[in-house]
Assembly symmetry: none
Homo-oligomer: 422 residues x 2
């Protein structure tokens, strides 16, 4: 069984101040599940000498070496020839890859540029891995019982290629899966509050590795259990998960890594409830998140981005006096927006957001980050006020998250308490 | 002058799925300013054999090697002994460092744990770098004209240490060589088409490093020029940029790294034009992107997410017959959505999108990825058809990009040609 892996991320853009390699995080997670440790990660540019040395050294040190990137059609995509050289093999041209590329371009209504012929070269003796999501094929090469896996850089191409071709092979070698992982997501609590609440729960479990992360608007608890079988690992994870959910309750919105919009979507389907959304400061972000979920047309009816006051009055039927008396950013306007949106769309529930995302527009009374959420159903409307920290991007994101969480708690019948977003 | 650097990030936590090394991004930016290229980054765990090899190899390849992390007082902090071994030097005990540590702990009202004595060992011959923000000193060692810099991992300790001790030294060595960077973004052309068109332009410039990247819906061209002064570097960059823009024309939507929504926002302000958006398959994404830009309330009036047919009829005034005759995803419906949106919001221009983002909903005649864009202004409405590749996420993103690009070209007065998104 393989126990050590190295990942080599290739591309000069990954050596700029702006780009970071994220593929390796995903790959590490998948490999760890099989008990394979990633011992080293290298990020190298379009630099033939260094890349060759790195590939050669990695194959000396580790059982499995995965390269990502550098398989594009342009001259600075050097992985094919350099990886071949590093292991002392030739590149060979495969007509069927070229034919496939031509067909792919034809389907897009374009002629294949001659430059793409480069992508039809593969390392001699490699298993060629088809790429349904891009033009670069991948490769698997076994050398002295070690594996060199050559994958494209875009995550959308790499992930299915790993899952379809490398993972099954590693699983069959590994025998029993030794580690399982679970991700709990929590809304409305801060990182330290979560840790304080759950540390006494997870600490006694020596076979469970726990890490707590904060990202934009939610806390994630990652639990990894190692056991001699999948069933045993799942058993321990279930136990810890149940205790955590009992301790912090409905703030846990998923125990299987789903996004907030997926959770809300499932609840809407279960409750056979339709939804519409009236957005001001979030500008369409809530609608965009909700409709990111396949099948959302089953419950999402309509959204309005009422950015200007006139739009609130005209399209959402907010009384002009309400805006004049209380302001566009107020509990009263939020409620009126939700009521107007629900009437317009004839949906069961409408959610609304109005707030000050900044950087301008704040005042002493209503500083940047002041956000009101509204929710209307057949029984009437209510609103809540939030004071969100962060810049424009974070305030908008957190407002969208809080609105979806308000909706979630409402659908769960937990009333309308919502956590103060961090 | 030093021209190449490597960064080695040390710590097993950086090899988990949850943590990523961010120090190197900051260091890269600072080094690039001085014309020093980061050629390789390595992330290695608390693994003596691999770390020793990595440090040794790095010093063979590059003029400057920076290690971060692994200087704590615990057993898994291995950087001190391993770096010493890699360069064949001894560790020496420095009483004054221990005294300083004891004093530091005393100020915190604590006794120094014996374990912290480890932090008083330094590599023989190293310049010791004080750490006002933590207990681990740094080290600078010159070996055969190369520099090995050993820094602590926490960013708030590393950054001032770099700025106070390494940066001034590199500046004085670098003399006048400076590097400047420019990012061009291109819509409506693929990576290979861009490279074919501009390779003859950038290739002759030996002082300019060029890399071409594709991300979601746009191609980026990164140009880095080194010259004896900032003015000279700018001069070369201007020249290359101008030639590229002349060659591929209005497909270049920014030459200074702006996002599409920022570019569109500036054009709307310049042209004193107001905008509204009617979205179906993008579900609010276009509105969300537009309003992500501070000050967008100056031109963005209103958006409607008309997800259901009834919403298109009710709120956008699309004639029921249009939808029944041509379908919700059709040129006719796209135009009618734009006209209805413009009328509702009294904006100068309205843009609309209707399409099939998948995974369901496709047919032989209108497969997943079929998207129609509409644009209405005072002269009337028009529409264009796109066939976008990718999954739901990419189709939605590319549709939003194509809609913004259609708007951009319209505002630039270049008519309504738009590129086929890749």
């Amino acid at each position: 069984m393989r126990s050590t892996a190295e990942i080599i991320a290739i591309g000069s853009e990954l050596l700029t101040p702006d780009k970071t390699d994220t593929n390796s995080l995903w790959l590490t997670e998948r490999l760890n599940e099989l008990g394979i440790d990633v011992k080293l990660k290298t990020i190298v540019g379009d630099d033939e000498v260094r890349l060759e040395e790195v590939v050669r050294d990695a194959l000396k040190r580790s059982d499995l070496v995965i390269t990502t990137g550098g398989l594009g059609p342009t001259e600075d995509d050097i992985t094919r020839p350099v990886a071949a050289r590093a292991i002392g093999r030739k590149l060979v041209y495969r007509d069927e890859i070229e034919a496939d590329l031509r067909e792919r371009f034809r389907r897009w209504g374009r002629e294949m540029p001659e430059i793409n012929k480069r992508q039809a070269y593969v390392i001699e003796g490699a298993d060629v891995l088809p790429n349904p999501n891009g033009s670069a094929v991948g490769m698997l090469i076994e050398i002295n019982r070690k594996i060199l896996a050559v994958f494209p850089g875009p995550p959308r191409e790499l992930k299915p290629m790993y899952d379809d071709h490398l993972h099954p092979r590693l699983v069959s070698e590994a025998g029993k899966i030794r580690a399982k992982r679970r991700v709990l997501r929590i809304a409305g609590m801060g990182e330290s509050a979560v840790d304080e609440a759950i540390a006494p729960i997870y600490k006694p479990y020596k076979s469970v590795e726990t890490s707590i992360l904060f990202n934009r608007s939610e806390v994630e608890v990652h639990l990894t259990a190692k056991a001699s079988s999948e069933v045993d690992a799942d058993h321990v994870l279930n136990e810890v998960t149940e205790k955590i959910c009992k301790e912090i309750g409905s703030a846990v919105f998923t125990t299987n890594g789903e996004s907030m919009e997926e959770v809300v979507g499932k609840l809407l389907i279960e409750r056979q409830t339709t939804l519409s959304v009236a957005e001001s400061c979030t500008g369409g972000l809530i609608g965009s998140r909700l409709t990111d979920v396949p099948g959302s047309s089953g419950y999402f009816m309509e959204g309005v981005v009422a950015y200007s006051n006139e739009a609130k009055i005209r399209t959402l039927n907010v009384p002009r006096e309400t805006i004049e008396t209380y302001g566009a950013v107020s509990a009263e306007t939020a409620s009126a927006m939700a009521i107007g949106m629900r009437q317009r769309s004839a949906s069961d529930i409408a959610v609304s957001v109005t707030g000050i995302a900044g950087p301008g527009g704040g005042s002493a009374e209503k500083p940047v980050g002041t956000v009101y959420l509204g929710l209307a159903d057949k029984t009437g409307a209510r609103s809540i006020k939030l004071q969100l920290p962060g810049d424009r991007y974070l305030i908008r994101w957190r407002a969208s998250q809080a609105a979806l969480d308000l909706l979630r708690r409402h659908l769960m019948g937990k009333g309308h308490e919502t956590g103060a977003a961090r």
